[in-house]
């Protein structure tokens, strides 16, 4: 099966079709708001279809991670090549796309959440053209990060994502949007700089031997960086367990930790979430946070397995702190969105704990938790969005009795929240289960402490349900309309996934199982 259209591979399509959409949106007359919206829907819809093709065509038994041959849907050609630079040799930057079990699930998540985001963007009326253009650019950035196998390309997409996000929060956000946007930007930018430094250091340290000519070529190719033999002897990052490798790992970790976000790098998140418009919160929580953990798994773990093992315990501790700390902070919030933001910190802590376990259960649990958290938090932010649209209020104490006023809304909200509290039968449980199981094998006491987080989670989620949905409705909210058709469309796919993957997670787990086993093998090969 050849996955090409007009000679362009499917991954390029899925990455760049939003750019096409963006151009169309920009070319449309200013007043044609509906046409812009439909363009965005069509473009992201095509992405979902392509993601479905990827899901169908993906070979579950291929390893990926560090073996170029076992990546799938590869597109690779030299993009920038400079011959014989004086003291560097040949420079090579490749346009190298490909997916393995780790990225395919993220690509699917991104496509899905992007579409949902567009559907929930319908009632954005301020500067519609700019909004959708930036939105689509953002989608390209996110998708690009997940399929890039060249560090340079990865970095470019990473930064491409940053700017639209800044404007989307800063222009379409709430009252304190500028503060939030700047904070987001600075945080991410600091991380980006660190990552760039490591990227350059890696670049100068890694050179592969061209089999054809026997020349030594410096490259940004991530897969070459994963091969210890490619490190130039005496270069900065050569060797094993050297200080510089630890420093590089930490620099990368800070960058990714900011995105995840892990305590103590998380404070941009509540602000960004609270100020961002609903669809952007959905994207932010649904996809952007995953980039951090993805980056760790795609870059830090395979390139620096020694440092990963060295710092794994620290990661687990930070994960544990995030779980407990996020839950406590969530409990003390009065703002619905802030509560969900902190719950994200808590849930992403589970991801970190899971992947820090460095065993298959933990890794699968962690990555699956990324996917599930993306879906669950998307639902939760949509839930807030729905009520905020109707009442212009977000405080947890402003509501009550919504259950009787909007029963269908209550239904989806409660499913989302139960999934967030890890109720068995819904997807959040499965991933939390495996994350904890994996972590327990590696860090017994840390995990035992972390498990208390599930009690706290239950407490704040149930209190939220009680405050918002139960009791008697205040008189001014007695006639709120229930979910509209459009809102239902944005909820239904997510709810179906929540239930389906909760009961039978195998389709998702099978996608990543092999690749993640390989990753675990790669990282732990030094210890065994």
């Amino acid at each position: 099966m050849e996955f090409q259209l007009f000679g362009i591979g499917i991954l390029s399509w899925i990455v760049f079709i939003p750019i096409v959409g963006m151009l169309i949106v920009l070319l449309l007359p200013d007043k044609k708001h509906d046409a812009m919206r439909w363009t965005a829907v069509v473009v992201t819809g095509i992405q979902v279809l392509l993601a479905a093709v990827l899901f169908r065509g993906f070979d579950r038994s291929m390893l990926g991670i560090n073996e170029a041959e076992s990546f799938q849907f590869i597109e690779k050609f030299n993009w920038i090549t400079v011959e014989s630079v004086p003291w560097v040799g040949k420079i090579e930057i490749t346009y190298f796309l490909g997916i393995d079990g780790l990225s395919v699930i993220m690509v699917i998540l991104t496509a899905l959440i992007s579409l949902i985001g567009v559907i929930s963007s319908w009632n954005i009326t301020k500067m519609v053209k700019g909004y959708f253009a930036l939105y689509l650019l953002l989608v390209t950035g996110m998708m690009g990060v997940f399929v890039s196998l060249d560090f340079f390309l990865f970095f470019i997409f990473w930064e491409v994502m940053l700017l639209p996000m800044y404007f989307l929060i800063g222009i379409w956000g709430g009252p304190r949007r500028q503060y939030a946007a700047i904070k987001f930007f600075l945080y991410t930018f600091v991380g980006g700089v660190l990552m760039m430094l490591v990227m350059l250091a890696l670049y100068f340290s890694v050179a592969y031997t061209d089999p054809a000519t026997g020349n030594s070529i410096h490259t940004f190719n991530l897969l070459h960086m994963m091969n210890p033999e490619n490190f130039v002897a005496g270069s900065l990052l050569a060797g094993i367990d050297t200080t510089w490798r630890y420093v590089a790992w930490l620099a990368l970790f800070i960058n990714f930790a900011i995105k995840i976000p892990i305590f103590p790098f998380h404070t941009w998140l509540p602000d960004a979430h609270v100020e961002a418009p609903t669809p952007i919160s959905v994207i932010l929580a649904g996809v952007l946070l995953k980039l951090g953990a993805y980056g760790l798994l795609r870059i830090s773990f395979p390139i620096f397995p020694d440092a990963t093992v060295y710092f794994a315990y620290m990661m687990a501790v930070l994960g544990m702190i995030s779980i407990i700390y996020g839950a406590f902070c969530a409990m003390a919030q009065d703002d619905f969105k802030k509560l969900i933001a902190y719950s994200s910190v808590s849930h992403m802590g589970i991801v970190v704990l899971g992947i820090a376990a460095l065993n298959t259960q933990g890794m699968v649990g962690g990555v699956f938790q990324m996917f599930n958290h993306g879906i669950i938090t998307a639902v939760l932010f949509l839930v807030v969005g729905v009520i905020y649209d109707r009442t212009k209020k977000r405080g947890l104490y402003d509501f009550g009795g919504i259950a009787n006023v909007m029963p269908r809304y209550m239904g989806v909200a409660v499913i989302g929240m139960f999934a967030a509290l890890g109720l068995p039968g819904l997807n959040g449980f499965v991933s939390e289960l495996f994350s904890f199981l994996g972590a327990f094998e590696s860090y017994r006491w840390l995990t035992i402490i972390s498990v208390s987080g599930i009690i706290l989670t239950a407490a704040y989620i149930l209190w939220t349900i009680q405050r918002v949905f139960l009791g008697e409705a205040p008189p001014q909210f007695e006639s709120l309309p229930d979910l509209s058709l459009r809102e239902k469309f944005s909820f239904i796919p997510l709810i179906i996934l929540i239930i389906l993957l909760g009961i039978y997670p195998a389709p998702a787990v099978e996608l990543m199982n092999t690749s993640l086993s390989q990753l675990v093998e790669l990282v732990t090969i030094g210890i065994n």
């Binding site: 600075l186 404070t267 003390a332 699968v364 289960l433 008697e472």
Partner: protein, 690 residues
């Protein structure tokens, strides 16, 4: 029937209520009668199938245990060594078939009862849907062959309980109670989860069978018996939560905010008994230490709940504390090794306690309607001080209630006598073998208290002549759909269904079917062997029976003395023992202390952390920003005054110099020429000199 058909049959039993749930949730309101008949029909079918299974299993295959399973998830890849297969599956043994019959029977009766009780409720369909979901989850707990599914369904029944306690969520007290129930249960579940993790990490499986095999082969978790004991106790934590054992017993009385049939089904007969079932399931891997802890927890629970029950005036609260106390008995029974007796008490208790609650429901229903007719909305329909003399108004309810009360008090010829007697004999045997004389002592005291508070309830509610006042003039017996389930349960409260010998359960079919499994833990950690234990029980059985009849009689006599014949004043009695009385009325301060320590503590900690987050961490970030701004302001100053100053200074000098030199520029060509000539001459002279 073939053995192989057991699994599909069990699946059918399991999935029927789920199908009912799904149908009702999506289409219930469009169905005639809002779908109550559908829910009742599916659960009745489940019951009939369960009964068939029970009879076939016990009659033809009493010693078989059948499992059917499939791989739910496979983790890891074969090319990197072993894979990790997570199996889901069904285990059918005698324990299972008895339990599913109990669950489906009570559930069916509660369904019928609810048709009457919940009539006209705002969320009638949803109520029946949740009942279906609950039945499904409960059956799941019973049928599972592994710990993972156990945990999954464990939480699911928890959520059903949450949803049904909060059925009337307009009331703040109801939603609070629902939250409390779920969160307290979560505490126990977290412990259970840790226990499961210990076992999984060591044995790479959730399946009971495999875990048992590994342990009996001498493989211990992390190589130590301490961890095995810990695993046992931690898994037992789940039972502590679900079965409302000390110290997590606080949620069950509050759970009475739910509709009364729910209290009967979930909070008396089935879900709360799941903890007992869990202990029975993992019994083979419990070490002697773990069992001792379990026994003590059961005993403490039995005692404190019984004392609180005496002081309550809410009809359902009395029953709730009684449930806690009886659950304590069952746990105590299992803890001391009276396995079959503990489990039997679960079964008999399911029947008579469900009956008690349904009778309570019948009373409350009647009271409610009577008060409603008089437009009296202030009188509490559940307070027994507002009742009295219901005997004549509600004969069926009364007589069934009497039977249930006798059963729970442990009067001969009832089912309760059989099981309780065996448990008490077990505690006596345990103490004579291992010491721990407190256990039987507590057991007998609690038995006496049980008889006392149950008869107190009976006398206060049904005897006397309160009902003849005008307020309750319109009191009527409940409709047939409610009284027939009562009668069925009353029938099941007689000994005949469990053993043909009214004074010895040991000879009945139940004890034949439910045998205590072999302990699989290392020899040093094993509890007293089943054979020796059994012999000791035989020896003390007579004494146990004698004492238990004595204390029950004393309790009943006491209740009549105080409440019926009024020979002893209850108030005086209370004032004699004022410290104890206050303690019991205030539920031994558990709620107060937990509220103060855990709830308030958690909230305070949450606030502190929020403050920490906003002030310290975010403050640090913002502080960095402020410092950066200050620095940049400094930079701006430097830029304006130093860097720019330098540039401007140069410009200034140039300007000044220009102005000065500009004076030379007269605009007169001749002047310029003079300069030129003069310069030339100067240069010329210089040239010449050099």
């Amino acid at each position: 029937m073939e053995l192989q058909t057991f699994i599909p049959l069990a699946l059918l039993i399991l999935l029927l209520p789920l199908a009912g749930f799904v149908t009702l949730i999506f289409a219930g309101k469009k169905l005639p009668r809002k779908g109550d008949w559908l829910a009742t029909a599916v659960i009745s079918m489940s019951f009939l199938l369960s009964l068939t299974l029970l009879i076939v299993k016990l009659g033809w295959y009493p010693d078989e245990s059948i499992t059917g399973s499939f791989n739910w998830l496979v983790l890891g890849d074969a090319m990197f060594g072993s894979t990790l297969a997570i199996e889901l599956g069904i285990l059918i043994d005698n324990l299972t078939v008895v339990m599913i019959t109990v669950v489906t029977l009570v559930s069916t009766l509660v369904h019928f009862f609810s048709i009457g009780y919940m009539e006209g409720d705002v969320r009638y369909t949803r109520y029946f849907a949740y009942l279906g979901l609950f039945s499904f989850s409960m059956l799941g707990i019973v049928l599972t062959h592994n710990l993972l599914m156990m945990y999954i369904f464990w939480e699911l029944v928890g959520i059903c309980s949450y949803l049904l306690i909060g059925h009337w969520y307009e009331k703040k007290s109801a939603s609070n109670a629902a939250n409390k129930a779920f969160i307290v249960n979560r505490v126990g579940d977290a412990g259970m989860f840790i226990g499961i993790m210990i076992l999984f990490t060591n044995f790479s499986t959730f399946t009971f069978e495999t875990i048992f095999e590994s342990i009996s082969a001498g493989i211990l978790p992390f190589g130590s018996t301490g961890w095995l004991t810990a695993a046992g106790i931690l898994i037992f934590c789940g039972a502590v939560g679900k079965s409302a054992q000390f110290p997590l017993q606080i949620w069950l009385p509050d759970a009475m905010e739910g509709p009364t049939p729910i209290s009967a089904l979930i909070h008396a007969a089935t879900m709360v008994a799941a903890g007992v079932f869990l202990v029975a399931r993992i019994f083979p891997i419990l070490t002697a230490d773990a069992l001792m802890v379990i026994a003590y927890i059961g005993a403490i629970t039995a005692l404190i709940a019984a004392t609180v029950a005496i002081t309550q005036y809410d009809f359902k609260k009395v029953l709730a504390y009684s449930t806690i106390s009886q659950l304590g008995y069952m746990i105590l029974g299992l803890g001391v090794g009276a396995y079959a007796a503990g489990f039997m008490h679960l079964v008999t208790h399911a029947a008579f306690k469900a009956g008690l609650f349904l009778a309570a429901g019948s009373v409350i229903y009647a009271m409610h309607h009577a008060l409603h007719k008089r437009e009296d909305h202030h009188t509490d329909a559940q307070d027994i001080r507002n009742m009295g003399g219901l005997k004549s108004k509600m004969p069926v309810t009364y007589w069934t209630f009497v039977i249930f009360t006798l059963a729970i008090s442990g009067i001969p010829l009832t089912s309760g006598f059989l099981s309780k007697d065996e448990i008490l004999a077990g505690t006596l045997a345990y103490s004579s073998l291992n010491g721990h004389y407190l256990l039987p002592l507590i057991g007998f005291i609690a038995a006496g208290l049980t008889a006392f508070y149950m008869f107190r309830l009976l006398i206060l509610a049904f005897h006397g002549n309160h009902a003849n006042t005008s307020r309750l003039a319109d009191l009527r017996e409940s409709p047939k759909v409610m009284t027939i389930p009562l009668m069925v349960l009353a029938g099941l409260s007689f000994f005949i269904f469990y053993s043909f010998n009214p004074f010895g359960a040991a000879s009945g079919w139940f004890f034949a079917a439910i045998e205590r499994p072999m302990s699989l833990v290392p020899e040093l950690m094993q509890p007293t062997g089943a054979v020796l234990f059994h012999e000791t029980v035989q020896g003390v059985h007579g004494i146990a029976m004698f004492i238990s009849i004595l204390v029950a009689g004393a309790g009943i006599l006491g209740a009549f003395l105080v409440y019926s014949w009024k020979k002893i004043s209850a108030d005086q009695l209370a004032s004699y023992m004022s410290v104890l009385y206050r303690g019991a009325v205030d539920k031994w301060y558990f709620d107060a202390i937990y509220n103060r320590v855990f709830v308030d503590g958690t909230i305070r900690l949450a606030r502190i952390l929020r403050w920490f987050d906003e002030r310290v961490i975010d403050g640090l970030v913002n502080g960095t920003a402020v410092v950066a701004r200050k620095l940049s302001q400094g930079g701006r100053w430097f830029d304006t005054y130093i860097v720019d100053g330098l540039i401007n200074g140069i410009a200034e000098i140039t300007d000044r110099a220009g102005n000065m030199l500009g004076k030379l520029q007269t605009g007169k060509v001749q002047t310029y020429l003079v300069y030129i000539v003069f310069s030339f001459i100067v240069l010329f002279v210089l040239y010449l000199q050099i």
